[in-house]
Symmetry: C2
Subunit: 225 residues, 2 copies
Amino acid sequence: MTKYYIEHQKILVSVDCIIFGFDQNKLKILIGHRAMDPGKGEWSLYGGFVRNDESINEAADRTLFELTGMHDVYMRQVGAFGNLDRDPGARVVSIAYYALINVKDYSAKMMKEHGVEWVNIDELPPMFSDHQEMIRKARKLMQSKIKTEPVGFKLLPKLFTLTQLQRLYEAVNGEEIDKRNFRKRIKEMEFIEKTELIDKLTSKRGAFLYRFNKKAYEEDKNFKL
Amino acid sequence: MTKYYIEHQKILVSVDCIIFGFDQNKLKILIGHRAMDPGKGEWSLYGGFVRNDESINEAADRTLFELTGMHDVYMRQVGAFGNLDRDPGARVVSIAYYALINVKDYSAKMMKEHGVEWVNIDELPPMFSDHQEMIRKARKLMQSKIKTEPVGFKLLPKLFTLTQLQRLYEAVNGEEIDKRNFRKRIKEMEFIEKTELIDKLTSKRGAFLYRFNKKAYEEDKNFKL
DNA sequence: TCAAAAGTGTTAGATTTACACCCATGA
DNA sequence: TCATGGGTGTAAATCTAACACTTTTGA
């Protein structure tokens, strides 16, 4: 309980972003190549340093904005990573965050500019430092979050088919779901609204498009998948 | 992805410990009074700064050891807290950890030395800075952990009665449990071993003492409470 | 003898899982 | 006409929750 600020050592604090997307029925994350030595060229999460004039959450938002140009993205903290040797270039404590975005909202242009790619989460290359561990932990947290809160929709377009939604849940949890049981559960959630629109892209017959109604969810909150 | 170490700002990093204990059928945490201004005298978690020559986990272990004299305590990270105004004296990013100890292992002597007390978690006083929020989050994490892993035993003596164990789960989850259903579930877990010893302190009739068998758990891991 | 905590099974209800066929359409 | 994905209901099995009385013994 004895703390005297002056005499203590300051440390570089960074944030690293695990950006989840969903495409081709696979859960993916956005990674690139490290720009600086040591470890230059190695696969790496996108990150940045925390400034003295911003909170750590603001630093995470800013970093994500730098990379994607997006504001108001769903982000949650994964935790702090602070092993001594985690960054061979300097003592850096890093705070990992995960974000959920719709891959369609991220332009190919920005991907190229920043040299990042969507990589299937089950086929990750070896990565810089402790980034693998950050990703593992982020995925676990996201998995448990998506079971009790309707955050999965953030990975989908506003309008989606039930098959898309099912494939998303299958990709996140890594196991198949019975179609009829899945749809039964969806029907019980009134805030997953059927529209009159039909998607004709993925099947000849066409499938009804659904949307997530946030206001209806706020009233009901009967979510369980 | 552009990081150049030199030009970035360093920040004070601290750890704060939420130390859980169980006594008198209540879940408690160990808190004291802040030793320095600003906020001197306010109720506060026990914490310390992270040094440049130790990982954040080591800093947490060291801090807990300073307070309790205990090594090899079960600790888990709660997360990083980094609002700009969270510590009015300086910019400090704090990483919270929770620990589970058996209150009987912590001497009244050390409690006095450090000026800390066990306080019922449902009757906490107002606390310094964001410590309330740290505690709330720690409790949530601990609650979900204790449902799927046998960590509750760390809050109890090596030998305990089933009623003690039940009261512990009731205190952690904040709701009563049916005695027969609880015991039924315990019986299914072979790693919660009945001994031939009888506790005569809490009842005239006496109750069998049980122990957690870690080795048996490693083989079975069939845990759900 | 009685108060206080220990100990013990059964049943109804709710939830979860498994499972197979018809439909609509574009190629 | 056929291959492809869309859409639908029921029954068995499992899990969960509710519930009350007898035992032991120290005071």
